[in-house]
Point group: C3
Chain length 344, copies 3
Amino acid sequence: MTDVLDGPTDAGELVIPSVDVGPEGQAVGWRHRHLLDVDDLSIDDIDLVMRTADAMREVLARPIAKVPALRGWNVTVLFYEASTRTRVSFEVAAKNLSADVVNVAAATSSVTKGESLVDTVRTLEALGAQMLVMRHSVSGAPYLAAEVFGGSVLNGGDGWHAHPTQALLDLYTMRSRLGSVAGKKVVILGDVLHSRVARSNIWSLTAAGADLWLCGPSTLLRGFEAWARRGAGGVQARRFHVTSSVDDALRDADVVMALRIQRERMASGLLPSLREYAARYGLTAQRLTAAKPGALVMHPGPMNEGVEIAADVASGVQSVITDQVTNGVAIRMALLYLLAGAAK
Amino acid sequence: MTDVLDGPTDAGELVIPSVDVGPEGQAVGWRHRHLLDVDDLSIDDIDLVMRTADAMREVLARPIAKVPALRGWNVTVLFYEASTRTRVSFEVAAKNLSADVVNVAAATSSVTKGESLVDTVRTLEALGAQMLVMRHSVSGAPYLAAEVFGGSVLNGGDGWHAHPTQALLDLYTMRSRLGSVAGKKVVILGDVLHSRVARSNIWSLTAAGADLWLCGPSTLLRGFEAWARRGAGGVQARRFHVTSSVDDALRDADVVMALRIQRERMASGLLPSLREYAARYGLTAQRLTAAKPGALVMHPGPMNEGVEIAADVASGVQSVITDQVTNGVAIRMALLYLLAGAAK
Amino acid sequence: MTDVLDGPTDAGELVIPSVDVGPEGQAVGWRHRHLLDVDDLSIDDIDLVMRTADAMREVLARPIAKVPALRGWNVTVLFYEASTRTRVSFEVAAKNLSADVVNVAAATSSVTKGESLVDTVRTLEALGAQMLVMRHSVSGAPYLAAEVFGGSVLNGGDGWHAHPTQALLDLYTMRSRLGSVAGKKVVILGDVLHSRVARSNIWSLTAAGADLWLCGPSTLLRGFEAWARRGAGGVQARRFHVTSSVDDALRDADVVMALRIQRERMASGLLPSLREYAARYGLTAQRLTAAKPGALVMHPGPMNEGVEIAADVASGVQSVITDQVTNGVAIRMALLYLLAGAAK
């Protein structure tokens, strides 16, 4: 076992267990410099992320959940949208790896002075940023950042486009409960149209062989039917299902993931009232009985309890929503670790 | 001397001196998991906090004011109200104990997306929070948090209800100057009605045997006369005085603590103008002469100089306001240390 | 080589190379407790900052860009104005020296409750701040802070008055490219009137013997002609040039520094439209041909590309704008190090 950094480990701290490391110290098989979406990850890549996350779960279970893997690294967290869980998850993940974390919240920074994204990214790199975690309301913004940034860009959510760390933690959570998702019926329920979580999950879940179903009001599924028929990446074997029928979707499901309804979408006319949405698409205990016994209940958070998910379902025995959050830290530690290894 | 954590201490750093530690490494006698208010602290508990704070003052006096007691602990600071001194005080206290600190300011986080407090607390725990320092505008909010949080909750101020770390640092400051507060006349002057500082101080000062006087305009003392007659906790021995007469209150006082007048209260009609308030209840050098020579002047901050306290009094030789701030760091270090020991 | 702190260095970390250190561990020759402006720095002081920054550049080039020089020091960053680059630069500099950094953004803190600056500074000191980095919209605010603060105040920009770390990093950047600025023609182009960057640069560049030219619309040069004739500090040898002619300014220039046009100045009537400003004073590739071949292009950032500087010039081969940012970290590390040594 070798650390990704040459430096000595702190006394009393162990290095990360059970990740294979090559002669140059890099994690074997990881070749990506950035994590922009899951669509360009092979199933081997995904497996490596999952195995590395297993190692990170072991670290998190220690009395002192801290390893020196990224000691002295500068991880800059640049968020153009408000966030608690994703921002804190990356921050905790980086600190658990002993990195120095710099937070830049765009709303309270001179980014609001009208500086271009490219300038901001170049400036942060010149200030020492080696890993750039980024959330932006514009789809594709992290791709632009990756073009000019000399280190690694991690997409923490861009517009409606992608939220790759969320998709990876979702898959990790399913696997740790179900063993494998191949052939398992996984339902994503809700406002698919505006959801970067749904889009990234399409890539990873079809890659992993899940029987994926997207369900919601037809106005919130526009364009997904054609995608479903082509399959993810235009690959026939990676087709999935799209339906407005909650009954069809939930029947014998192994996993049901409810998506957040964003109240600001109401104004668009795409959604009925919140009350009507809850009545027709909300994940209630009654509806959940149509799924397999013990089917997993998931939600990317933050929840509107009583709207897209009933409070008793969210905190019920089938819910793994809290696991998702904890696994999110492990997944982000794994990704920071793998990307740092590739950068070296 | 043993550290609360099994891990090795950093080279060259000493562990905290002079706190008694039992065979399991816990601080002897501390049994509380949370610090929500001072009303359930026994006088022995309070004494233990004070003795531990003495040890922390020794740490603060070192060239490098840092000990490894909470190395690897995640202390999350969740503030729903703006604050400088309390937020920074907890942050510095936690860092002095080598903890990792995560700041979540509700105004700039997705907490504003309408996520419930319970969800936020559960999420922060799943993200790794082991100690949760919390300020909230709603009285009782930290109690709700403590019901669902698996670690320790420290109340950093909730509505008008309680501010226990402030009361403990106030008591510590008085004791370090006066030896003991038993039988000493302590006056709290100002807007008692809206003050969580006053409410928490009632519990700790009567427990410590002080001769406590609350003084202010009668509109800002409503309900306190009845409480004063019953005594804190309904205990006759812990009765205190309530008066609108500044003369009666200040006469031969050992300690005078002025409370902040919040300008936004003006609209409520409970207060006269600021000018009239200053004239009738402001702590001036002239008024202070009624107190004992050398009586201590205190204020929880931030001050409105010229309103509830005159600038020359605030910075005068009797003022211990700066001591309060420094002692606040020591008290919060002590509480984090004791709660961490109890959690183990 | 001895560290400024007595404490042991972390295993595997080296101390800062090549700064001369006296028998008491202090940097030889540095006598300032605060850094408020460059106007009271001697040329020897400036040379020492530059040499120390050279050492810090070596640290920044290491795999782990971290030294224990300020281990256990509390560096508090108090910003009353939004900022990304300066705030992050100080934060990274302090963390590279292993200091603990406390961020206080006035807009989101109780500073907005109306507490006076003096109270805030006293409170931060009582909370443990040993170095106070400060940005304020009011010229002179850091001088007031320095009067009451027991540690070191570093001015991170005050109103139109001064931005000393910017001037020092500008000079450092010029020197590292040109060897010396003595006799070199340096042009500062743009809104000189509202620029603290320009004001601080007048002091350091004339001290270093540069042939300094200020250029911009005459409405934005008011008062500078008289200053130019007197010379900086009233010293004849430190006179400089002021002109509204871009042709005169740029002819045979060695360095051209464009200043940010702040859009909010438009309302003042002092500026033509942005379009007209760009046409008449914007630094374009065409205009730059009047300067010496290979003349350096600089900008303090953030840039309005297409207004005061053309995009192709900003990212062209003559641009050292990114160097300025990186050198800014080295300069701030040097200053924190020197001030810490003087405090000891």
